[in-house]
Symmetry: C2
DNA sequence: CCTACCGATCGGTAGG
DNA sequence: CCTACCGATCGGTAGG
């Protein structure tokens, strides 16, 4: 197992190959989805033959799980770092939004769909926990700070709990990503925002909403009079 | 072509079969995605053999396009009806949210991904235009009313244009759908909201945000001082 | 609308 | 890490 002369790759080479596979597979899986990417496609993009992949990963599912896991760890580290900074809730959310808009190219919905429908139950469980620990937890600590400081509404005043806020934040972020891509291929409408501007708009809307506060009072809206 | 005795199905039977195929295919495509559903799976669920599908639809892509088209027309009719009512922006958005939460079981991200990566260019174009006409246009007319009345912020005051607002609305809606399903299988956290309650929460957050307005003033946030 | 069948492609294995 | 190859399944067609 220690590495033969020339035919067999050295330990370092094998490790580098593995990193190449992970990086390549990530790009393909995140763009096209699990089923739409074949093992041959990944291998060829890495300069390998298809069976060579099975030297590094047990099967296609294991490769996919490794890709997601690696991604969550990396993104999670960044979000945790930001969430611990000594800055306002608004500023930390803005920084998280910037990070995610710049560095996360994948579609969370697609990823979750693949995890749910293509992975086995044990892997689903594992990746679900990793997602919660790496993405939801750091974001929700920021929202908890806001709830504690009362700069955010609690559930009695039209707000949501910190966990739900974290999900909402991710959803709004992704939404913007997707809506610009809709628009690009639908009408090529002008949306020239940079990630920084986009992050600010998203956080602003999430915190303050679309309503003109001079005109409408949020408090009165909490008791809907179910008229159909 | 006028309909043979017993072997060949009558015109009416053929039409009913076609409706059955559309309904069945819709359920499967919307849940699992285009590639994950085989033509045999659809046929068996309809009580047919796989080649029989090709009597009603040219190929799998044409069937998928017909499913999406039918769906957009139906949903679009409901949204147009609501958008023309003589009620407040808030109330109409609430009703749209209720309708979509109750009647639209599909994942827009998945649908768009499939349209983008599995359909041919001409079908992409057609479905993209249908989506804009049936879903975005009715929603954006409601937001336009709000902008005209100045109950919604314009772009100079931290708002977005009516089209972007419509996309955002759909995104937030879908987000909530997805977040509850994340939570169901992640931690089984308590989120017992009905569609009606959920619709109200979503519209409220979209209009008024998560911030506690007694504490924070949205206006001052419009000039971000790019500190990293 | 069915039986029978095709070529292509898939994930994965044998064996070196 | 390659060559050679397998069984399964896919979308689609022929022909009645």
């Amino acid at each position: 197992m220690a590495g033969k002369q020339q035919r067999r790759p050295s330990h370092e080479e094998a490790e580098e190959t593995q990193r190449t596979i992970l990086r390549t597979a990530q790009k393909l899986f995140m763009e096209y989805g699990y089923r739409a990417v074949s093992t041959r496609q990944i291998a060829i993009a890495c300069g390998l033959t298809q069976p060579a992949l099975y030297h590094h990963f047990a099967d296609k599912k294991a490769l996919y799980a490794a890709v997601i896991q690696e991604n969550l760890v990396e993104t999670g580290a960044a979000l945790e770092r930001i969430s611990r900074r000594n800055e306002s809730v608004h500023e930390r959310l803005r920084q998280c939004a910037r990070y995610l808009l710049s560095n996360v190219q994948y579609n969370h919905s697609l990823m979750f769909h693949d995890i749910r429908y293509q992975m086995d139950a044990d892997v689903q469980q594992m990746l679900g926990e990793a997602f919660h620990a790496r993405m939801i937890t750091p974001l929700s600590t920021i929202f908890e700070d806001g709830l504690r400081q009362r700069t955010l509404r609690d559930q009695q005043h039209g707000g949501v709990d910190a966990i739900a806020a974290a999900y909402l934040f991710l959803n709004v972020l992704e939404r913007f990503l997707t809506s610009t891509s809709y628009r690009q291929y639908l009408t090529a409408s002008a949306t020239p925002a940079t990630s920084i501007e986009e992050a600010e708009v998203i956080v602003h809307i999430l915190l303050y909403g679309l309503a003109n506060v001079e005109r409408a009072c949020p408090a009165q809206m909490l008791d809907p009079e179910q008229t159909e």
